[in-house]
Symmetry: C2
Amino acid sequence: MQNDTCFEQSVHQDRVEKALLEAVTPDQMDRLVRIFKLLSEPTRLKIVLALNSVEMCVCDLAAYLGASQSSVSHQLCNLHNFGLVCRRREGQTVYYSLGDEHVSQLLAIGMAHAQEV
Amino acid sequence: MQNDTCFEQSVHQDRVEKALLEAVTPDQMDRLVRIFKLLSEPTRLKIVLALNSVEMCVCDLAAYLGASQSSVSHQLCNLHNFGLVCRRREGQTVYYSLGDEHVSQLLAIGMAHAQEV
DNA sequence: TGAACATATGAACATATATTCATATATCGA
DNA sequence: TCGATATATGAATATATGTTCATATGTTCA
């Protein structure tokens, strides 16, 4: 549904057009949404925060979180699919760590905002 | 449920304890989750991105998004409750803008990561 | 004060998704 | 190869939440 209560006159066309011009592509939007969504769920965010401190295997994370192995593995899969975490196998164990420096930057800035609210 | 498939031996206690020591408080976790959750939904993210370019009123945003006034107003309320956007009233019109510089920083870093994936 | 317009909001529904359960895959050691 | 252990994954369910609908609130102007 469109502007149900807004009349045309009340819309500032210049502002709308400016926003439209500077809008990111749908593709970029999807990726941006996906990044923030991955960080917006307690289990996944705790995983990412923990990996920001120390490399851990699936069982370590399950113990740390008090969560099931399956749940942790599912979420690690989600995080890995989008490059937020890396993994390396060592025998039967798979160790996870943060994917790139952008992730810890996002955490740092998020924390900064969280503290001052 | 806890570690269903993980045996005690497979857990690196030192790593788990390090993560536990450096863990943020539940309160901080809640706030951090909330920030990322607010940015993780297409309508809200588009709003925030648009406000990063130009101050807009509710009807501007509804027109820009092709969304209903009600939906936009609900989401602006969510964003405002957590300080991600500011508002100022001018007559019947309420103008919204970004809340603080952390928000645009998060967007910038998120975009940087989105582009290289 | 009353009409018109911009915005806000409560309740209900529809959809997305996190967890669980069951099981599959992968690696190591004997 | 077989048993044990660590991890991965498909399907189902339960929960969270975004949108809609209806309506309330707030502001201006005549």
